[in-house]
Amino acid sequence: MSPLDQSPNMLPPVRQLPPFRLFRPTTPAEAVGILGSEETPPICYAGGTDLCLSVHEGRSVSSLLSLNTLDGLRGAEARNGTLAIGALATLDELSTHDQVTAIPGLAEALGAIANVRIRFRATIGGNVMARRTAYEVPILLAALDARLVFESSVGRRELRAADIWTAGDLGRSLLTEIEIPLTEGLALDYDRTLRPWMTQAAATGGIERVAVGTRFLRPALLSGDPGESAESRFSGLPGEFNDVLLTRGYVTGTGAALLKRQRARLAKG
């Protein structure tokens, strides 16, 4: 249920949209062209597992750009010291992909998100572009210092994954790729035992990056020297990191305890 903008009224989820204009491009270039040329850019449709929710929440869709028919933007490949993941790769596909297993911990983490049925459909790009605090891919990507690659009619743009929350309107851009720098010793540990209250990704390889996600707050990224104590890593947590389900005090104490375990697991390999 959603209050419509500033309206004092609440509307039921929209189960049946009015007909929309449907675009079914076959190449990424064609898709980018449509996003750039239409007066109101059509809304991208990948696996649809989040889009339908946002429609129910009141998002109006006058035109839809189906990405299902696109060639490419799937799979993953290591090149030039980065792991490049296609935005349309499904979580299921990635959870067993041999290039993804090159980063210890990543395939397991992606294979733990949602459930079997959703993972068949849900794309990694859709998880990021939904920009919902409850979703986990942005947490993983923040810890991995990933970059998001967008194409639009004005060219290519890169964004740090951790900056997706503040990037503003991306309606004319197509997320094409996610690039993870393959630094020496890169490994990920993702602890989601406390979901939905909090989850935590820790990545090694040079500096240590810890990303903490909760249900209602944008993930916090805490990075620094791996030798630093777990407690002091968490002293960097934003002051207002509270929501209706948890307090900052809980997150710092619990996060530090989880981090110690994560470090031990990462050290064991």
């Binding site: 189960r15 009015p18 007909p19 204009r21 597992t49 049925r117 068949f120 459909r121």
Partner: protein
């Protein structure tokens, strides 16, 4: 560009051709255009899985997919499981025999989810069964009897039709 889209697909093995509004969900297409109301719409957000059907063999929440995606595809619903003589699929039979349902509203989806699992892995471990069943919600049974029914269905299918 038109407001409608033409779809030709197969539904439970029968060819279907229809012209529907672009925004028609797969669930509405199945329930209304095809008249197959065994597929239930419950939570509406792909969460509960009561609307699970197979789209080219993949279990999909039809409430959160659009009919246009089915163009050129094969759809399978709960109505397509039994054979021409009305003989139940082993999954249906196991759910019936173990009372692995109560109100029945999740049952079509649970059965389609299980069918998709057994199509991929005819001998799933208990852990695999729970992992798959974790996709759909049953508010009535507490899942235990469903887990048992899935195991029973796998056994029955492996034992062959003569047993």
């Amino acid at each position: 560009m038109s407001d409608t889209v033409s779809i030709s697909c197969s539904v439970n093995g029968e060819p279907v051709a229809a012209e529907v509004p672009t925004s028609t969900t797969l669930a509405d297409f199945i329930r209304e255009a095809c008249g197959l109301t065994g597929t239930k719409i419950a939570c509406g957000h792909a969460v509960c899985g009561a609307c699970t059907v197979h789209l080219d063999g993949v279990p999909v929440a039809s409430c959160s997919a659009y009919a246009f995606e089915a163009d050129g595809s094969e759809i399978r619903t709960v109505e397509g499981l039994e054979d021409a003589d009305g003989e139940l699929d082993p999954v249906q039979a196991a759910f019936a025999d173990l009372s692995a349902f109560q109100c029945g509203y999740c049952t079509s989806g649970m059965i389609m989810l299980t069918r998709a699992l057994l199509d991929r892995d005819p001998n799933p471990s208990g852990e695999t069964i729970r992992k798959w069943l974790n996709s759909n919600i049953c508010r009535c049974t507490g899942y235990e009897l469903i887990v048992e029914a899935v195991a029973r269905a796998a056994e029955a299918a492996n034992a062959g039709p003569m047993r």
